[in-house]
């Protein structure tokens, strides 16, 4: 009995997954084969998209980088001829433990992503789905559920790292008849995509976690606040909720208990600050998403002034595993204060980008080299950016650092939601800090003066540094402003906005100084600080002169050319055009 699964997450679809899917259906029906072609979510091997899994008598084979041209051969040789096309196979399920990308991973949240059909509730049930909520309802009291979550040691996966069980307890104890559960799916950190992949690959796991939370704290209504930029995740969530309602898993008296629970979707409207819990609540209420002072915490006064428990997608996706496998088993993974696993979105200048779920406490080097396969194009590993715009850059020299909440915080970055952008020696750290500050400055809601104006001033300083107009005390000025913004902002956005600047100053001060004092960009990235010159390799082919938009390059055919530095606008077209490496970028 064979079965074909095509990875159709956003990443798979962008790589052409739908065409592959259709091609398989066509080819199978042409050959009158009654074999099911299933869609699944992201397996995490984004670097290998489009991924196709052929399940074949107990084992299964993962075909990587499949295009619709490959389909016919796979169907003819593997499906019909029973000879797997070895040269296209990345790994097989039996050997998955040996695959370098999977070897060091421990998959809890992602265990069924890429295996089950996210559009089918029956598929989820087949893989132990909705067993945990049944177990919780039948076996445990509300407080017992909260105790299990407390004992597991799980902490908020959205970035804050607050113990989830404690948060539940607050909402449970808060007086009030109507309580709410909110799932924060407003994954706004640039560079983070694990929540999207979970929602696309296994939406029911999030719903089940929410149901268990609802039962535990006594909430009957729940909202999922999801980014409008995730159309596929939204679609799959809607299907999942609809299927649950049809089966009676959502609504009155779920699973034959006296508990009622409904889940509604609220689409975000594009504001990064709405990832902050009080801003998110304001947005659900239909207002401008502006944070407010805490206390009162949402656990006491949240949505419409009622006790509200907010957790992130990944947190909820862990819950059913904890209930089924027990708190101890979860707590046995990770470090002393950070338990369980964390999903990281590996991207940037890395060879194998994708989603990696690892036990807390794995070192940066293990993630970058062992799982991620090192740096792309043989360049030098410079730093990782962790935690998005609230986080910071950790240099390669600290690669032995274990990643958990405490260790990351010590560096001046934060764990954040789990974006891990790998940088090589062509990335300018000042430019990167500028990029993040530009982002937070744009997304500041404007309520607090220091966040609104302070980030703007910091951005202006960084801009002049990258333009070669930096002043002598600019670094100190940045540090001074940063501290004031951190101390005088109400919410996490402002309090963490200076982190990318502070960590890059901390670990890459020499780069700032090179920009300011020597007017030089060591990474050769800041255009205004570059000088293009032509060396002896020049064959006089005139290609660069033809490409130059301002006619700054002169020289006779077959003679060494020259660039007029006053006329040069540093666009880099000559550098890209030269085929003999005769143009130096300094």
């Amino acid at each position: 009995m064979k079965e074909i699964k095509v990875g159709l997450g956003t990443c798979g679809i962008s790589a052409g997954g739908k065409m592959v899917y259709n091609e398989f259906k066509d080819k199978l029906s042409q050959n009158n084969l009654d074999i099911e072609v299933k869609q699944t979510g992201c397996m995490g091997m984004c670097y290998n998209e489009v991924l196709v899994e052929v399940v074949d008598n107990g084992d299964s084979y993962l075909y990587s980088k499949v295009s619709s041209d490959n389909v016919e051969k796979i169907v003819n040789e593997h499906i019909i001829g029973n000879h797997p096309v070895d040269e296209w196979i990345a790994t097989s399920r039996k050997n998955i433990e040996k695959d370098p990308f999977f070897k060091k991973q421990k998959r809890i949240v992602l265990q069924n992503c890429g295996i089950i059909d996210p559009g089918s509730i029956d598929d989820y049930i087949l893989y132990d789905g909705y067993k945990a909520i049944k177990k919780a309802l039948q076996k445990y009291s509300q407080l017992e559920v909260i105790d299990i979550v407390c004992n597991s040691g799980i902490r908020g996966r959205g970035g804050g790292g607050f113990p989830t069980g404690v948060k539940w307890k607050f909402s449970y104890e808060a007086p009030g008849d109507s309580k709410y559960i909110i799932c924060n799916a407003d994954e706004g950190d640039p560079g983070a995509f694990m929540d999207r992949s979970i929602l696309e690959g296994n939406p029911h796991s999030v719903l089940e976690g929410m149901m268990i939370a609802g039962y535990a704290i006594g909430a009957q209504e729940a909202y999922i606040y999801i980014r409008a930029e995730y159309p596929l995740a939204l679609k799959r969530l809607k299907t999942a909720i609809g299927d649950c309602e049809k089966k009676g898993y959502l609504g009155e008296n779920i699973f034959g208990s006296n508990v009622s629970f409904t889940i509604k979707i609220k689409e975000g409207a594009g504001a990064f600050v709405c990832g902050e819990e009080t801003a998110l609540i304001a947005s659900i209420e239909g207002k401008r998403g502006v944070p407010r002072l805490r206390p009162p915490f949402p656990a006491h006064k949240g949505l419409w002034q009622n006790p509200t428990n907010i957790n992130n997608v990944e947190t909820f996706a862990n819950i059913s595993w904890i209930i089924l496998n027990g708190a101890d088993k979860f707590a046995s993974m990770g470090t002393e204060k950070s338990k369980g696993t964390k999903v990281f979105a590996l991207a940037g200048k890395i060879a194998r980008s994708g989603l990696a779920e690892v036990p807390m406490g794995m070192t940066i080097n293990e993630i970058v080299y062992d799982i991620g396969g090192g740096i792309k194009d043989g360049k030098k590993f410079k730093a990782v950016q962790i935690g998005g715009p609230s986080g910071g850059c950790i240099p390669a020299s600290m690669g032995d650092m274990k990643i958990d909440y405490e260790e990351v915080t010590k560096t001046g970055a934060i764990m954040g939601s789990g974006g891990l952008i790998v940088l090589d020696n062509t990335t300018c750290m000042v430019d990167l800090a500028k990029y993040f500050l530009n982002f937070t400055q744009n997304e500041s809601c404007g309520k607090c003066t220091f966040c609104r104006i302070g980030t703007k001033r910091m951005l202006e300083i960084l801009e002049r540094i990258t333009l070669g107009k930096g002043r002598e005390n600019d670094i100190e000025l940045l540090e001074d402003l940063a501290e004031k913004i951190k101390n005088s902002s109400l919410c996490g956005l402002g309090q963490t906005a200076p982190n990318p600047v502070l960590t890059t100053i901390k670990y890459f001060r020499d780069e700032y100084e090179a920009h300011i004092i020597e007017k030089r960009c060591p990474a050769h990235s800041c255009a205004a600080l570059l000088t293009y010159t032509i060396n002896e390799n020049c064959t006089g082919c005139t290609l660069c002169a033809k490409k130059c938009p301002v006619n700054a390059i002169s020289g006779e055919v077959k003679e060494i050319h020259e660039i007029d530095q006053d006329a040069c606008i540093k666009c880099g077209l000559c550098f890209n055009a030269c085929k003999v490496g005769a143009i130096d970028k300094l």
């Binding site: 956003t10 990443c11 679809i13 962008s14 790589a15 984004c46 670097y47 998209e49 994954e187 706004g188 950190d189 640039p190 560079g191 983070a192 995509f193 999207r196 409008a228 930029e229 995730y230 159309p231 609220k266 689409e267 975000g268 409207a269 594009g270 504001a271 990064f272 947005s283 659900i284 209420e285 239909g286 207002k287 401008r288 998403g289 502006v290 419409w304 979105a345 590996l346 991207a347 940037g348 200048k349 980008s353 994708g354 950016q385 998005g388 974006g419 952008i421 940088l423 990335t427 990167l432 990029y435 993040f436 982002f439 997304e443 809601c445």
Partner: protein, 163 residues
């Protein structure tokens, strides 16, 4: 279920619906209503603001405040095809700046502008979440990854011909 109709000249009139049954939903209905209005018209016409204001009993000025707070909402119509360039970190370090340059050159417009023929609008978005395919852009609901200037030009041509 209440069905709302907003008459609008020339443009196709669609009904947009929202569940206003319970009082609680009524309280939080503003943003979903604005989203439906935008889905129907491609932007939020002034008339819609006044109409929604009557339904949710919130002053038009405050609704305007909500509209301008969220980057999703537009007060002007968009082009037929919307190109969104990802400005996420992974895209940034993989050259999204030059993607923007190519697009600007090809279309002759800047960010948040629409071509004269009304065919394309150019926008940026914080992160599309396809970081492994960086640099990425989206045209309408289609995502394009691992962009090169060739790929960008090809994609734009496809949409230009598909008028």
């Amino acid at each position: 279920m209440t069905v709302l109709k907003i008459p609008e000249k020339k443009r196709e009139v669609k009904n947009f619906k929202i569940d206003l049954l319970t009082k609680k939903d009524h309280k939080g209905a503003l943003i979903p209503l604005l989203q439906s209005a935008q889905d129907s018209y491609g932007y939020i016409p002034e008339k819609a603001i006044y109409y929604i204001s009557e339904i949710v009993k919130i002053p038009a000025a405050r609704i305007y405040g909500v509209i301008t707070f969220y980057s999703q909402f537009r007060l002007k119509p968009l082009g037929k095809n919307v190109i969104r360039i990802c400005e996420g970190t992974a895209c940034y370090v993989n050259g999204s700046k030059s993607v923007l340059e190519v697009l600007q050159d090809e279309l002759g417009i800047g960010l948040d502008e629409t071509t004269d023929d009304g065919l394309f609008s150019l926008q940026s978005v914080a992160c599309l979440g396809c970081c492994s395919l960086a640099p990425v852009m989206m045209i309408n609901d289609e995502t394009y990854g691992n962009l090169t200037s060739k790929k960008i030009k090809k994609a734009i041509k496809e949409y230009s011909f598909a008028k």
